[in-house]
Amino acid sequence: MSASVTSRQRVLDRIRLATQSCAKNSAGRAEDYAKLPRNYIRRSQPGASVRWELMIKRLREYDAEVVECTPDELPATITAQLTASGRHSFVAPVGLPTEWRSTGFQWKIDRGIDTSEIEQAEGVVTAAFCGVADSGTIVLHHSSNEGRRVITLLPDWHLCILRATQLVETLPEYFDRCLQPPSLATYISGPSATADIEMTRIKGVHGPRFLNVILVSDENVSVLDKDAVQTVSIPAEVGSLKGR
């Protein structure tokens, strides 16, 4: 591919020539980057209930169904959700805890199963990496309990389980939690939708049409009750851009 090599050189030479007065060396770039103005909001408002309530509100605005439960109630809550969906066959990522796979339903565990099998399943149950309350976003990094990208795409119904500790209020707080940059990530903010015909919002084009979320409190008290007694400490801000 010698032609490409020359094109590479041509393009880079043009860029170098055009930016010779402003481009910096590696140290200068790092210094300039650290000085970029970042006066936008990074941190949550205090109190876990603020982001908890905001997340529920945002998800409901997207027509997602949201239920809350304590860790002890989780298996029963999952069963109730699966039953209420009227569906029977579900895909589970390989790392989904066994107690989340309610009995009485048909489970396909994704050990690299065929697309056609995933396509035939009626739903999928996964964990998540993070939830961002400000925009009602579910973040998947596709680890073993979140599954490959395809399993949360083809089935029409997605049940996602999100723990209170995984919830942040702002998008910068999520990025602060990415100590290891994910090689794959999907941010889901409401079900698949389009407004391409006369700006009328239609739910469900190609992705799942139904998004259900179970929010699990930290301990066996609801986040809202707990917040009333004591202020829940905000997860430590890690890997902040500030000071870099």
């Binding site: 094109s7 481009a23 590696s26 794959l184 469900g204």
Partner: protein, 486 residues
């Protein structure tokens, strides 16, 4: 002008009519203007509400502008870093100096894959390089998968907006296109029914076509990742199901670090569609074993971009994240829609981007397709001072015209030449005033107004009257008064 199948002949800046001529059919098409105005009103209302709730909106804009500027100032280093990281993750990076090279690289890749069909995520960059007609001519069937792009492709229509490209087409027109091209009888014009028809039409394609083409919203230098933002899930289908993915991205799309997305993603959807976040944002880095396409290529496209990097004023153009907020806010775009701009990039950003992509050899009328009201600058999430760039490009156009010999036949040039001569010396000016008074007297009626002038002057009097010149100028009156006082 009719278009070829999925081609954008009308939107080729080399063939397009100048803006003032191209706009005439649109201004005579009330249905199209109504469709455009409706769509824009909906987006504008949603955007305004969501921007208002963001108390740190201006701080986000300032940060985004600074990040984009920094990335462009150091573009060479960040692109090389992206290339290195993407390659390390199993991707293959190609460089294309112009549209022709990019098209050839992509066709070669498709031939290596023996691909006779390809599915596509909406990409403005591929429209810019007119990829679809090129691939079709080479025997590759191209299937657009974004709903608006399907409407355009099946209806042989041209995109008129960079985010909602079919906003000029209403539901009954979509119904007609789908009924005709998908062979569906008794289809209603309910958007829900029409959307479902598209879902069914494409499902089999997603599951069977093994090669996909995408654009990129962002390239991350730090990690080698590519980000695509979309609403329907067609993007995720294309990014997940095929065996091979080819991404074509302008060289300006690079961001230094992953965390820069915390700024861009807060601004993009709010500006583009009036949502807090688009339903789906996908990030992938090279190839991930067992998940998604196992062969991944990125084509980095220059095509005139590097020439915009030299001077800070023009460089701003490349900060653009293609949200379309500028066209939604533009009073000119609102009246004309997108087709009159003769480019796949319409509106204020198109007016500055297209002529520069064309090295100022075409689309010279576009920098004038603006009232310079500044609404585009006000809404731009990365603070591109579009009016400033428009003025700079206007001056470049004027400098080009100065070099043309044919300019002596241009009435405006002649007029300004004469004005230049007359204004240079006071006596010439006074003489001209006196001659003008005598000349215009012939056309001045009793009411001291001029109602009609011949030839070029008619351009004024066709639409408004002209006040007749007084018998005496202020200078003359002042001089006679001074004499009288002595």
């Amino acid at each position: 002008m009719s278009s070829t199948a999925s081609g954008h002949a009308q939107l080729d800046p080399r063939l397009a009519l100048p803006f003032p001529e191209a706009v005439l059919p649109v201004l005579r098409n009330p249905q199209l203007r109504k469709n455009v105005a409706h769509a824009i009103d909906v987006i504008q209302t949603k955007r305004a509400k969501l921007v208002l709730e963001k108390t740190d909106w201006q701080a986000l804009r300032t940060a985004a502008s600074a990040i984009r500027t920094h990335a462009l100032e150091n573009l060479g280093a960040y692109l090389e870093q992206f290339e290195e990281r993407c390659t390390a993750a199993g991707g293959v990076v190609h460089w294309a100096a112009d549209a022709d090279e990019a098209r050839k690289i992509i066709l070669d890749l498709l031939r290596q894959e023996n691909a006779s069909e390809v599915i596509k995520i909406k990409t403005m960059t591929s429209a810019e390089i007119q990829l679809n007609p090129y691939l079709q001519a080479a025997g590759v069937d191209v299937f657009e998968t974004d709903l608006a792009e399907i409407i355009l492709q099946l209806g042989n229509e041209e995109p008129s907006h960079i985010v909602v490209p079919a906003l000029h087409i209403n539901r009954s027109q979509v119904r007609e296109i789908f009924a005709r091209r998908m062979g569906l009888k008794g289809l209603s014009d309910d958007p829900k029914v029409l959307t479902n028809a598209a879902r069914t039409y494409l499902r089999q394609k997603f599951l069977s076509v093994s090669t996909a083409i995408s654009g990129a919203n962002f390239l991350i230098a730090e990690t080698g990742a590519v980000a695509v933002v979309e609403s329907e899930g067609n993007g995720r289908m294309c990014l997940t199901l095929p065996k091979t993915m080819i991404t074509v991205a302008g060289i300006e799309k690079v961001l230094p670090r992953l965390q820069d997305l915390e700024v861009m993603l807060q601004l993009l959807a709010r500006s583009a569609t009036g949502e807090r976040m688009s339903p789906y944002t996908s990030l992938w880095t090279g190839v991930t074993p067992g998940d998604g396409p196992q062969r991944f290529h990125v084509v980095l496209l220059d095509n005139g971009r590097s020439a915009m990097l030299t001077k800070p004023v023009e460089r701003q153009t490349l900060k653009c994240i293609r949200c379309a907020a500028c066209m939604n806010a533009c009073p000119v775009y609102r009246q004309t829609g997108g087709h009159a701009y003769g480019s796949v990039y319409p509106g204020p950003i198109g007016a500055i981007l297209t002529p520069q992509l064309m090295h100022m050899e075409y689309s010279q009328s576009l920098p004038y397709a603006s009232s310079l009201c500044g609404a585009c600058y006000e809404v731009c999430p990365v603070k591109i001072n579009i009016p400033e760039v428009l003025l700079e490009l206007r001056s470049q156009v004027v400098n080009q015209e100065r070099k043309q010999l044919t300019r002596i036949f241009d009435p405006m040039y002649l007029g300004l030449l004469i004005a230049n001569l007359l204004f240079a010396k006071a006596w010439r000016f006074h003489l001209a005033q006196r001659l003008g008074r005598v000349g215009l007297k012939l056309f001045t009626r009793k009411d001291e107004w001029i109602h009609s002038l011949p030839n070029l002057g008619a351009k004024w009097t066709q639409t408004r009257d002209l006040r007749g010149l007084p018998d005496e100028t202020f200078h003359e009156w002042w001089a006679s008064r001074a004499k009288g006082a002595k």
